[in-house]
């Protein structure tokens, strides 16, 4: 779950992390507008500043005008539905501070840079030495020597203040099960460090243990967008593509391999639909439903199954159940092997459906059928 800046800042405030005084403004409620201020678009995507989604205003009239103009913007395809209006800060320096995790090293990672601001991506690309990356052992926590190393790297004199600030960020990261807490910029003002921006993403897998946090923030987002949070698709990943060969797989790796083979053999996949490696007849059924309802013009459907945890009898049950209830007039190419393969093949045979064993042959036939061959 990604949070809007104003939602992230509410968490900052709760955690004792200094943020500017501000108010949320929407098209229907502009009562919070004030000046002088910074008027900031509330969107979930990045790069807002560069796209003109933040305006500094001196008078109430300017604030009204800025609010009107930003509320009519679309940033990376996302309509702006709310603004955060904040007091202007007297900025002496702009830092970058973030905590996330390095999945390949399997460890949380603090990142700090004295070159904060809008261009941190280009700093990362062109002068990576300007960003300090400190792995933090989650069980030890954020140790004093790492806090000193970060403050030194940033050149921030008040080490005690920095340590207290960074510790609060770390605690928030841990307690709220965040996968990212990013402050860019973290500004140095006359009165010390202030989080001028907030980008927070919470781990969806932690939802069952953070019900209140999820409910509150998703409800706020739904109230703004008028759209309920994304429906739970279970284990299915569905990505629509441009071609005419429908594709369903029970593994991400074999799904990607099949995508490649379809192209290598002269076809194009209409979608990528992967069910996960531990699924059920119901998931198989919904995967077919998903592809057929979204892609009405596919010319063949290729189902690639190789069961480890997945049982082929259950997959065959899902497929045959779908076909009993729906009229499917395009060729269906099913490759099925692995756990409970005999049982699965027997179910398919009873339903009069052919089964392939070799992946390449199955892909070749699906591509040929899609091109109008027999």
């Amino acid at each position: 779950m990604k949070l809007y800046e104003f939602q992230g800042k509410a968490l900052f405030r709760e955690a004792g992390i200094p943020v500017p005084r501000g108010a949320v403004v929407t098209a229907s409620d502009r009562s919070g507008l004030f000046a002088p201020s910074a008027v900031k678009a509330q969107v979930l995507s990045g790069g807002r500043g560069k796209a003109g989604g933040v305006l500094l205003v001196s008078t109430q009239a300017e604030a009204e005008k800025a609010a009107g103009s930003i509320l009519s913007m679309e940033l990376k395809g996302e309509p702006v539905r709310a603004l955060l209006v904040e007091e202007k800060m007297n900025i002496r320096a702009e830092y970058y501070l973030a905590v996330t995790f390095d999945g390949e090293a399997g460890t949380p990672l603090f990142m700090a840079s004295a070159s904060g601001g809008m261009d941190i991506e280009s700093v990362a690309e062109h002068s990576p030495e300007k960003i300090l990356k400190l792995p933090v052992d989650p069980l030890w926590g954020l140790t004093d020597y790492k806090l000193r190393a970060m403050a030194d790297f940033l050149g921030y004199e008040n080490k005690k203040e920095f340590a207290s600030f960074a510790r609060k960020v770390w605690t928030l990261f841990r307690e709220k099960n965040a996968v990212l807490v990013e402050i860019n910029p973290l500004v140095v003002t006359d009165s010390g460090l202030v989080a001028l921006d907030s980008k927070i993403e919470i781990d969806d897998d932690a939802r069952p243990r953070l019900k209140d946090l999820f409910e509150k923030n998703l409800a706020e987002q739904a109230a703004l967008t008028g759209v309920e949070g994304e429906a739970d698709h279970g284990t299915i990943t569905y990505v629509p593509l441009e071609g005419n060969v429908g594709l369903i797989s029970d593994g991400a790796g074999t799904g990607m391999l099949t995508l490649d083979l379809i192209r290598d053999l002269g076809g194009e996949a209409a979608d990528f639909c992967e069910m996960g490696g531990l699924t059920s007849p119901e998931v198989m059924y919904s995967a077919m439903d998903q592809v057929f309802s979204d892609k009405k013009d596919i010319k063949s459907l290729l189902v690639v199954l190789i069961g480890g945890f997945n049982r082929m009898d259950e997959m065959a049950e899902g497929i045959t159940a779908y076909l009993r209830e729906h009229k499917v007039s395009i060729p269906l190419v099913v490759r099925l092997c692995g756990t409970m393969e005999e049982e699965g093949k027997a179910i398919m045979k009873e339903a009069g459906l052919p089964v392939y064993d070799d992946l390449r042959t199955a892909v070749a036939d699906a591509v040929r059928f899609a091109a109008g061959g027999n």
């Binding site: 593509l241 991400a252 790796g253 074999t254 391999l257 490649d260 480890g308 390449r360």
Partner: protein, 288 residues
């Protein structure tokens, strides 16, 4: 020899009385894996497929000395189970479950590295040393004993390539699945290193996919230290940008994590590149 699991592997199944636990325990035993214990709190004294169930890992260790664990414990309880296994002295942990909260995974990995525990996963299909031991979901008939070591993020892709090799009469020393990310207890580089040091493995097959940089890290290690032939297949060449394809880690951002960049790094490191499982077989045959 093989890597990770062998004839002397004694397996503990955590969450043995759940649906997956029961089904997989049967499949491990059918393969010939020595499943010596199961743990489900409160179920001591019962048995699953003839395997004694204990209340705690410590009890199981005291009674029947398991040295590896496979976990089917539900995501929210997976961390507790993993910590328990590690504290009881288990040195190889296979975490099959997807959806374990990421901070829990980070805690598990921190604890593991301090104790010298090897963690496979989370979200892994596990590992098989054909003819010796299966500690995962690999369908038995797709694998046979031999000299080719296979490492893959995706479980299904490791079956696909295992099947193609086995159909072609090429056996495997060990086949390892690592999970789809975005956090890995063990990466391709770790496994390539183990295969490089394993006298029984003569050829290494590295299966990779779009997203992240673990294949690049493996390529660096191959360039520096590996003299055994390496054959590599990277999937997702036809993948669109900016979409996670089933694995959280399998996503292309700009020109980062593309199949092309990984294939280039591996080729530079001296690996032979295949674009399909059939071609993996052809390349291995050429290598003799």
């Amino acid at each position: 020899m093989a890597i990770l699991v062998d004839r002397d592997t004694r397996v503990l199944v955590q969450g043995i009385t759940g649906k997956s636990g029961i089904l997989q325990t049967k499949s491990l035993i059918d393969y010939g894996t020595a499943v010596v214990a199961g743990v489900t709190p409160g179920k001591a004294g019962t048995a699953v497929e003839g395997v004694p169930v204990f209340n705690s890992v410590a009890d199981a260790v005291r009674e029947v000395s398991p040295n590896a664990a496979i976990s089917f414990v539900p995501p929210l309880f997976a961390k507790d189970a993993a910590m328990e296994a590690m504290e009881a002295g288990i040195k190889l942990l296979v975490l099959t479950m997807e959806g374990i909260p990421k901070h829990d995974v980070l805690d598990i990995l921190s604890y593991a590295s301090g104790r010298g525990v090897r963690v496979l996963g989370p979200g892994t299909a596990g590992v098989i040393s054909p003819g010796k031991c299966k500690l995962g979901a690999h369908p038995a008939r797709m694998f046979r004993e031999g000299k080719v070591g296979v490492v893959s993020k995706s479980g299904a892709l490791s079956y696909e390539v295992g099947k193609t090799l086995t159909d072609a009469g090429i056996g495997q020393s060990t086949v390892v699945a690592l999970g789809g990310g975005p956090i890995w207890g063990t990466t391709q580089r770790d496994i390539v290193k183990l295969f490089n040091e394993d006298p029984e493995t003569e050829i290494i097959v590295l299966l990779g996919e779009i997203g992240g940089g673990t294949e690049i890290a493996a390529a660096e290690y191959i360039a520096e230290s590996v003299r055994k032939p390496v054959v590599s297949l990277i999937v997702g060449r036809a993948a669109p940008e900016g979409k996670s394809l089933g694995h959280a880690g399998a996503i292309i951002r700009g020109n980062k994590g593309t199949a092309a960049s990984k294939m280039e790094a591996l080729e530079k490191a001296g690996a032979c590149l295949a674009t399909s499982p059939a071609q993996v077989v052809e390349l291995i045959r050429k290598l003799g």
